[in-house]
Every structure is written in C-alpha cells, then in structure tokens.
Symmetry: C2
Subunit: 348 residues, 2 copies
C-alpha cells in the first residue's frame, strides 16, 4: 500500500463521521419543534411603538421558551402547547385569558381547544367567563371527561370539579380592551345608521373588522414524534348572541393528527365555513401536498375567496413549519430542536 | 329502395327516440333528490312493536314527502332540508325538538346546524332550550347574522329577534324521554359504583351508550343542482356540563359543498375527533372516491377504529346516495326525482 492510498483511506475514515455530524447538525437546525401565534390582523408598524413591539416579542419568546423547556425535558407535545398557551393567556397583550376582548354586554367570554395528534383525543370549552386558563380547561375536558366540547356554565362547573383555578370575571378586565369595546360600539352604531335601509343593516350580528379579533395558539412536536395543537381566544370585540368562532372547534381552528398540527387565527366565520385546519391536513394526507403548500392553498386562496382573512401556524411530523397569513401582520414565532427562538410580527 | 330497407329505416327512426325516453327514465329513477335519517343506534326488531315501527316509517315518509314537494316545486335544497327536519323535530318519536332527550338536570338542550353547499354559507345553534325548531334558528343564524355559530341564551335571544317561534321549555317534555332519563340515571349510578376505584370512574362525564343518542338530519339536491344539509338533535340522555356533540358543528356532524352533502348521527365525541363530514367530502374531492366509498371508509373503518359508532347519510351532486351505519339500525329514507319514497330501519 502506497502513501497515497493510506492517505486516501485515512481521509475517508476521518471525513465520513465528520460529514455525518455536520449534516445531522444542519438537519437539526432546520427541524422546528414548536411554533406559536398571538393573533393575525391589521398590525401596522406605523401604529406600533418600539416599547409595545418589544413587549410583544418578549411575551412570544417567553411562551416559546416555556414550551421548549418541556420538549427538551422529554415531556409530551400536549404539555408543551398547554404551557406556551398559558403564558399568552396570562399576558394582557393577547386576546385570550387575561386581556381578552369584551362582548357587547361588557363580558369576557373565552373559548379554547386542544388536540393530541397521536391519539386524536381532543377537548374544548366555549363561552366560559370564570376559568383563568381556558386551555387547561380544554385539556381537562379531553382527559377527565368522556366529552370533547363543553360550553357555558356547564363547562365552568366541570372545570371547578376538575380542580382548575376559578377566578372572578373581573380578573379578565383590562383598560385597553374596555376602551376598544367603547370605540367599536361607537363605530358599529355609526355604521348601522349609515347602512339603514340597506339589506346589510337587517343583519343582527355585529360588523366584523379585523381590529376586533385575535387568538393565541401553539403547535409542538415532541421527542417521541407526537404532535399536539392548542388555541385560545376571547373572540371578537362587541360579539353578541353567544357567538362562537373557530378557535374552540376541533378540525376548524384547532387540529392535530400523526401528520400535522394546526392552530388558526382570523375571522372565525370564514374559517368555520372552510373547515380550515382539517382541510390543511386532508390536502397533505390525500393530495401529498407539503405543509407549506397545503397551508397556503387554504389561507391564501380558499379563505379569501369567500371574503375572509386571517392566518394559521402548522408544524408537520418532520419538523417543517408554515405560518401563512393574508393580513398585514401576525404575531408569531418558532423554536428549533437546538433551542433557537425567532419571533416575527409583520410580513418579512 | 326495397321493402326490407324501408322497414329497417322506419324501425330505427321509431326505436331511437323510444330508447332515449326509456334510458332517461331509467336514469331519473336512479337519481336521488333527498335522503334523511332519524338517528342510528341499538334499534332491534325484537324490541320493536308493529305499531311503533309503523309510526316511525310514517313519520320518515312524511318528512321525505314534505322535502320532496319543495324540490319538485323548484325550491332550494335549503328549503327542502329545513322543511324535512322540522317535521322530525315536531314529531315526538325522534330525539330532536319535541321528543328530545333530557340532560342530567332534567332539561332539553337542543343543537342544530344547516349548510348551503353552493355558497358554503352555514349556521348553527347549540344548547338552546326555548326555540321550537332549532333547525330554523340555525338557518336564521346563517341568513340573518354575520355569525355561523351561537350558543345558549345568546342564541335564544337572537332567535326571538329573528322572529322564530319561542316556546316554554315544557313544550319539549315527553313521558318516554323522561322515563329514559330516570332509567339511565339508575344505570349510570350503578355503573359508577361498580367502577369505583377504577381509573374510568374518575371521569366526570357521563357513560355513553348508544341507547342514549339519536339525531335527525336531511340532505337534498335541488333542480339547480345545489346541495344542502341539516342536522338537529337533543344530544345524549343524562348529558352534563353543557356538553356539545357533533350535530351543530360544521364540517363534523353537518357539511355541504358543491360535490356532496352529509348529515351524521352517532356517538358525537368520536365523530368530532374524526371530523367526519368534512373527511368524507375530502376523500371524494382529493382522492376521487365515490360517495359510497368515502362514507364507508369513515363510518365503517375510521370511527370504529377509535371505538365509536353511528352512521351518516350522504348525497352527491349526481344524485348518488350512501347511508352507512355500524349500529344495529338507523332510521332512514330516500326519495328519487320521480317521487318514489323508501324508508328503512334495520340492516337490509
């Protein structure tokens, strides 16, 4: 064996493992383990202060960090999404839990859902007013009852029996949201007067504007390869008549299976009519679309085709992420398996 | 031209149109314009009296006849499904409207949904106790509000403002259903005692048995080729905690698009977790399955795989119908474009 041959063999022996390590690292860097959103809507840089922007980014980063710690410790994706959503529910910045918008009657009515992609177990609550963390109530429905969805007083009674923290409805009051309600009420009454005589004014619902909605959500992929999704919201400012949006509806605002997890935010009515979350999953499973292609088709084409807007976050079993939205902005962020956190507000 | 040739030409001239008429007739006979169900469950011939069987068949036939008259007169499929479901809501035989089952608290809490396949407009109500015809309330939500789903007192207030008939909750009381509640309560308390110490007994929901559910629904195809679907239910006997099942959930218990309309009946929790109605539609649209294949795959494979049971009715835009169920029976019936009505209870 000559020197050249030895050198070649040595080179190969040394280079193969190092190449493998490098490629694994590259792959790991690309693999997302969690994605979150804090609502889509008319979020314009011109209307944002640097302090507010900083506060939102810090809250998103904290939610991601909290969820990521669970994933890193080997906990389930259900634990991770619940933990991340609780952080956003407890923050007054987002329209969920503390900081939820007000109904027409000046109440905070909260909705939430959670789903385990591995077992297809799911839980949801809607129209609750006394449960501090609705996402945890949704999880209790999933794990401690034989039901999937509970609404109103019944859901609150159940949550109390399940040992969840019950608060005075005043807990959810924030000055910002109260002022928004007064502003929207004024706008709606002006619009109603302007529209008098038109067919539209006969409608008994409220006018929907994207300044009125917002939702929080998370999707996670754990070390066992299982996906979970959760969503929580206060609904629409000035909502009437016990309106329920897409967030607490399994297959619509929240869905997870073995292939993908999805959480939506936007004009709920259009997300319901499009069965958005399940449609994304179906396009992936039945038409072999990527998570990016399927999410874009539904959010950028199907929802706008009916006149709706909003966005969603999706994470597939291979750690690929999609965060499409057709509004000006969407509070959102990701964390990869190596712990790298990124947060965004506007279109990049 | 000889006699034989003339005879042949005459024969051909005469036979072609008559053959066309015949084949059109044959085709028309196969085209279904409406399909309805009155609930799936443990319906055993051994437990049925001839009088009861006759009463169920007469009620189903009346609902089909009522819907068919609308279709024949050129009205929309939405009108037809609403009319058919109202007949079943008004009948004390079915678990919807009058004749609804009782909750644990001795109330009748009603859910309903309706969807227009052509426009993807949809409406639904859940947990209402004073609206005589919940399916009409769902339609009012669809047409007279900007929302899709309303629950509880808010939905009742809206229905009143929309001009729907409001009744005293006593209207829904029937002796049969009241006795069922007492029986189920006794069974549940025995089961709870027997199960004491087991993990299962920790669950705060009620035990689900197929004797406890039942739903009514209709899907129609109008002369313009538009599909619509509607579902209405009283939920589960002895239900607690404001439980909502699949019936009022768009894409789950009720769905229609330009391709197919679907209404489900069964153990709601499993239908939610499988996003049943939209899954049938997605299998047809994205995997080119027939209505029969798609319906069977979901009802006979996917729902039982999780441990659930029930059935569904589906009608596609070409007038093909599917009525799969994995229970002992399902009250159901069809009407074709020539007015031929057929009703069934057990497996054929």
């Amino acid at each position: 064996m000559n020197f050249k041959k030895v050198r070649l063999i040595l080179f190969l022996l040394l280079s193969i493992p190092s190449y493998q390590v490098f490629s694994q690292e590259a792959k790991q860097k690309q693999k997302y383990v969690m994605v979150i959103h804090g609502g889509a809507g008319t979020i314009l840089k011109s209307q944002m202060t640097p302090e507010k922007e900083k506060a939102y980014k810090a809250a998103l980063a904290l939610a991601l960090e909290t969820g990521f710690r669970r994933i890193k410790a080997g906990e389930s994706s259900i634990n991770a999404v619940e933990a991340a959503v609780r952080i956003m529910e407890d923050s007054p910045l987002f329209n969920a839990g503390k900081g939820a918008v007000f109904t027409n009657e000046g109440k905070n009515e909260l909705d939430a859902a959670i789903m385990d992609g591995n077992t297809l177990m799911a839980g949801s609550v809607a129209g609750v007013t006394t449960i501090r963390n609705p996402v945890s109530a949704a999880r209790a429905v999933m794990e401690k009852s034989e039901h999937v969805m509970m609404v109103g007083k019944g859901a609150e009674k159940f949550a109390g029996q399940a040992g969840l923290e019950i608060v005075d409805p005043k807990y959810f009051w924030t000055k910002d949201r109260w002022e928004s309600l007064q502003k929207v009420k004024r706008q709606d009454s002006i619009k109603a007067m302007e529209g008098a005589g038109e067919k539209k004014s006969l409608k008994l619902g409220t006018e929907n504007r994207d300044s009125k909605f917002g939702t929080v959500g998370a999707v996670a992929l754990d070390k066992q390869g299982n996906l979970a999704a959760a969503t929580s919201t206060g609904g629409m400012t000035n909502k009437k008549y016990g309106r329920v949006g897409d967030a607490p509806l399994i297959g619509i605002g929240t869905y997870a299976n073995k292939l993908v997890g999805i959480s939506c935010t936007g004009w709920g009515e259009f997300f319901i009519r499009n069965v958005v979350a399940h449609d994304v999953a179906a396009l992936m499973e039945y038409k072999n679309k990527t998570v990016e292609e399927a999410s874009s088709e539904v959010v950028m084409k199907k929802v706008p085709a009916l006149g709706g807007d909003g966005g969603l976050i999706a994470l597939d079993r291979d750690g690929n992420v999609a965060m499409p939205f057709n509004t000006a902005g969407m509070y959102r962020g990701t964390v990869t398996s190596d712990g790298k956190i990124e947060v965004f507000i506007y279109k990049e």
